[in-house]
Chain length 222, copies 2
């Protein structure tokens, strides 16, 4: 079987597993967010700051995809929510069956949450095509990564409902044109939301948490 | 054919093409460096600064892998060296046949160079397993990406002969423990070299260019 057919088969199997996950999340009224970015854009740091602001009012949980180490799930557990690491065995993205298996093994700890955060493997390319049953994808881009990235990685910036520009506290120290990035994202994804955040200073965190709360309200009302 | 067999076949075909490239580079006495990192770690910026320091004494050239845009090759051409963009058609890494085809199409412009820089697709995972006929791999990690990355992406930090810590000018503004990163790299790769560089301020550039010149001398003498 040629390489391309194998890939199609893998994606079709993933899609079936993702559809089952989506139905299960709908039954549980759990908002599911799939966070995607380069390594080091600040996914875990954004989640730590999010958990600090929301955990007293909402039941939150996390799944963390990585090639190696338990570090990200450890950080979320320290932040005060249940979290499970999924080691992908070298694969550069999570798939829906890994998510399903991890949730099954965690049982009640990750059932019936208000929000489940899925932190994908650090990678701007591979995770894009793998539906995990999420409500929407969020792509993060840090101000230290350069302002040419949306056009260089158009697939994820087209697909993600939300783009979060992270580490805006570094803007004084880097060459980074926020308007140029916003324009690229607008071109690729005219319906998308664009947020500017520093998890370190708290800048923009109200907008991000508000967006999550709105999405959760809409899901509950649907 | 199961997915894993297809992958083995693809890697074997790549290895054959890489061996042919390596022989050709040896005949031309061209030092070939395969640069790998996350998106936005500063591969192109490091190369621009390298070209500024070395182009008067050496014949340099570049190949730039990306999903989309000609931007990186444009930057190297503006810096004053011949360069060709390779668009991978969605793939998250370069392969040896793409390199071979690009060199054939460029002809004399990229033949008989002193140093050929291959800037891989921005990705810490996929490019690791694809030999491009290079003399050695260089992995870049920026100080903005967090100090947990070598253990999270052990394959590339084990394989790369050189780790370049980039953007050290940002150290005062980020939480980043250089000693912790160096220790992780030493554990994974006891024979590897570890350099600290800021292409922006020029810090560490002498060491990096010296390493390239030494490697070129050794290749010419062999």
């Amino acid at each position: 079987m040629p390489e391309v057919d194998v890939k199609q088969k893998v994606l079709a199997a993933n899609q079936a597993a993702a559809a089952a996950l989506r139905e299960s999340f709908r039954d549980q009224r759990t908002l599911v967010v799939n966070l995607i970015s380069s390594p080091g854009s600040g996914k875990t740091t954004l989640l730590e700051a999010t958990v600090a602001r929301m955990k007293d009012r909402y039941r939150l949980g996390g799944l963390d995809g990585d090639i190696a180490t338990e570090r990200d799930a450890d950080r979320l557990r320290k932040a005060g929510i249940p979290a499970r690491q999924i080691l992908t065995g070298g694969a550069c993205h999570l798939d829906a069956r890994q998510v399903d298996a991890a949730l099954a093994e965690e049982g009640e700890r990750l059932r019936g949450l208000d929000v489940l955060f899925i932190e994908n493997v650090g990678n701007l390319i591979c995770p894009t095509g793998y539906d995990l049953g999420e409500d929407f994808k969020v792509v993060l881009l840090s101000t230290a990564e350069g302002d040419d990235k949306p056009f260089k990685y158009p697939a994820i910036f087209s697909k993600a409902k939300v783009t979060v520009l992270t580490k805006v506290d570094l803007l004084p120290y880097v060459d980074f044109d926020v308007a140029a990035v916003k324009e690229q994202v607008d071109t690729l994804n005219p319906e998308g939301r664009f947020l500017e955040v520093s998890a370190r200073t708290g800048d923009g965190m109200d907008g991000w948490c508000g967006l999550l709360e709105d999405a959760l309200s809409r899901k509950r009302a649907s």
